[in-house]
Amino acid sequence: MAATTTEVTTTTTAPVPQIVARRVEPERKGWTSWVTTTDHKRIGIMYLVLTFVFFILGGTEALLMRLQLSQADNTLLDPKTYNELFTMHGTTMIFLFVVPIMAGFGNYFVPLMIGARDMAYPKLNALSFWLLVAGGLVFYGSVFFNPPECGWTCYPTLSEAQYLPNGGVDAWIFLIHLTGLSSLVGAINFYATIANMRAPGMGWGRLPLFVWAILVYSILLILALPVIAGAVTMLLTDRHFGTHFFDPSNGGSPLLWQHLFWFFGHPEVYIMVLPGFGIISEVLPVFARKPIFGYKAIAASTVLIAFLGLLVWAHHMFATPSPTFVLIFFMLGSFLIAVPTGVKIFNWVATLWRGTVEFKTALLFCVGFIGTFLIGGITGVFLAVFPVDWQLTDTYFVVAHLHYVLMGGAVFGVFAGIYYWFPKITGRLMSEGLGKLSFWLMLVGFQVTFLIQHSMGLDGMPRRIYEYADVGHLELYNMISTIGSFILAAGVLVTAINVLRSLKHGPVAGPDPWKANTLEWFTTSPPPVNNFDVVPRIRSVEPMKDIRRQIARQTAGAGEAPPAPAPESAVRA
């Protein structure tokens, strides 16, 4: 649109690529410009805003559930509503928040970080976003009729038409289809962009770790999504067209669904959390003022986690009728994942070690992530030991574990990303005071809500129950958890206020407020439509550091000189 030149300076004889514009479309203004845009940054912003709205919706559903459970034998919600709420909550958070918000960050920052001017397929990119909107509308449309009440896993035979005849399950199936297509198209787009459009000099060994994470996220989506798409289609035909894939009374198998679902469902966990890992790996070195420790190990562990993540799905099914050999295979596979995950955590801590840590909000969220995710990782090892899992599975211990991994893990990563990248997206800084308040409320609220849920599970409370009798300390535990959930919600609200306030009143950020390492900070904030007028040649994992050093060298004497780069032997301590 901006390229309107027709005259070409012909001082060279070599053929120069020319852009000939015969007609200049006037730039659209107002809301139609958002609907018709194919700019990866605008699509990214729409992703981030839409998914955050779904996050608020899913969070509200969670608060309603916590209110119901705050008292033993509570009658605030009836069982039907309660089942609808946890189904909506889980489905929203997974399919409409965590997975697509990572696509939102990816959309905005992958092209910027690799020095590209847009995604490989801008129109497909817009399609991805609008398919997500359609999925969300279809799913939330069911609120006006009958929302699904089978949990986000929708196990048959409960989800068969015989037991849940109303349209809620169908709305859920169409949500999986639409958001799945959205993610699949987006994943192919990410893959093509990262594989083909990197800046000159950016080999695989110089790819930012967030981009590594999005690459692996895309590959996992491409491998896992077709399986769930097939499975929900089979469920749909079971429900309406007389097939019996999952119906045991006609030779079908409910266990088949569990295998298909978790073959997708477990990689889905890594689809949600790997981009979070990527954000942490970008933000930590910036505020520790130190290069990431063990770049290759972190990139390799991302790939290894994804590979192993495809081989452990049946650890969700340890209580099903399965031979001991199968249980052992999936236990040991799950153990193996702990190794690359541990390596990542050690590398992050080592990145802080001997750095000069600046306690910005983004860094706090990273640290909160590491500390919290560690607990989720450790409880994951308990659950991987299948005899122990027999006691823990389907209880609040699992609810605690999955929230430590996904909320403490992925969501804290998302918040670190929001605080880190907001200045790039809007050109303005967010308030550090409100940011830190939000962080502490969220961290404390989170631990109060979910730590005690381990004890609820050990005390015999299964998940997905709308009421419980006050035996043991269950009522006390639940009350603590409910109080924590409202502290957590207050923390989220503070960040929402911070975002809205900083849009107008935040201090102007400038192109590189954090003195960061990656290429998105090379351009203005917010970046122009074409991202970069000049794409620099990439010489290391930290191109911005190289550029700052070069500028300092060229303007030596003016201002403070950076410390001389240490010789290579000293660097590799």
């Binding site: 069982p79 003022r289 209580a319 190794v339 390596v343 090892v381 308990f382 005899p387 122990v388």
Partner: protein, 306 residues
């Protein structure tokens, strides 16, 4: 000067680390001593009703010790490095990009910890998975009656167990007292919601469901076993003799519909003699009810054919 300072820091760090390690070990020992009673249901799973539940709790505690050490170590390093290396005037960040030896070291270390956990699991697995023989105070099972048979179900070494068929249905559990669940005689004694079993007797369960998936779970008697329509799942328990008269409670652990929360189960442990009395009573009650129904049916038939 610089070297001396570093050496000093190192000795301080090691003595601190040693003291910390000692404190951790003491805390863990205290924790384990209490874990059996005070913390059951708070930081360890419930146990006490059956050897498999006890062994699961033991395995859990072993993992917990390893977990607490790792937790304190990593969180400690994290918090220490945050405070020790916070930005100060004049501080310069060391530009370290990695350390191959260290990285290989902690990768191997993490793997070794998991090997240890796997060894724990394999050591305890047989006592959790495989049912033992019934004890001397248990029900005397004559060969041929109430004896479960056939692989792939795990049976006690002497092949004798009291078999009970567990059937999950929205939203109640049905228990049929029969040796062969797929061909249980029509007049087999049964009960709903409360299962009655003799103490010191190895009870094997054949678990299935007739409508949607459920999950059998009495925490003190061992782990969960899903009841899935079209499949039969197996587990066992053996309640110590001292628990005669105790009722163990649990509830369905797999979402089975709106009243999933209300699908509770009880296991009442009684002496073998009492069990046999109860079973005879059930048989008589069922026979009486059947006879009454048959009588009524024939009366109705007579009324319809004048």
């Amino acid at each position: 000067m610089n070297r001396i300072g570093r050496a000093l820091a190192r000795t301080q760090a090691t003595s601190l680390a040693r003291r910390l390690a000692l404190a951790v070990l003491v805390a863990l020992a205290a924790l384990l001593a209490f874990a059996g009673s005070a913390f059951a249901g708070a930081i360890v799973p419930e146990s006490g009703g059956s050897p498999n539940a006890d062994h699961i709790a033991t395995l859990y505690k072993l993992i917990l010790v390893v977990a607490v050490v790792i937790f304190i170590g990593v969180e400690g390093c994290l918090i220490y490095s945050l405070f020790k290396f916070r930005a100060r005037k004049g501080a310069v960040a060391a530009q370290i990009r990695g350390n191959t030896r260290l990285e290989v070291g902690w990768t191997v270390g993490a793997a070794l910890i998991l090997v240890v956990l796997a060894v724990f699991t394999f050591a305890l697995l047989p006592s959790i998975r495989n049912p033992p023989n019934s004890g001397p105070a248990g029900l005397q099972l004559a060969t041929g009656t109430l004896v479960a048979s056939g692989p792939p179900k795990k049976l006690p070494p002497n092949g004798k167990s009291l078999n009970i068929c567990v059937n999950g249905q929205q939203y109640i559990w049905r228990f049929t007292y029969a040796a062969d669940c797929s061909n249980a005689p029509l007049n087999s004694p049964f009960s709903y919601q409360q299962m009655v079993v003799p103490v010191d007797t190895t009870v094997t369960l054949d678990i299935n469901a007739q409508d949607v998936a459920h999950s059998w779970w009495i925490p003190k008697l061992g782990g969960k076993f899903d009841a899935i329509p079209g499949y039969t799942n197996h587990t066992w328990f053996k309640i110590p003799a001292k628990y005669a008269g105790t009722i163990f409670t649990g509830q369905c652990a797999e979402l089975c519909g709106r009243n999933h929360a209300n699908m509770t189960a009880q296991v009442r442990a009684v002496t073998p003699a009492e069990y046999e009395r109860w079973l005879d009573q059930r048989k008589q009650d069922i026979k009486a009810a059947d006879d009454a129904a048959a009588k009524e049916r024939s009366q109705l038939q007579q009324q319809q054919t004048p």
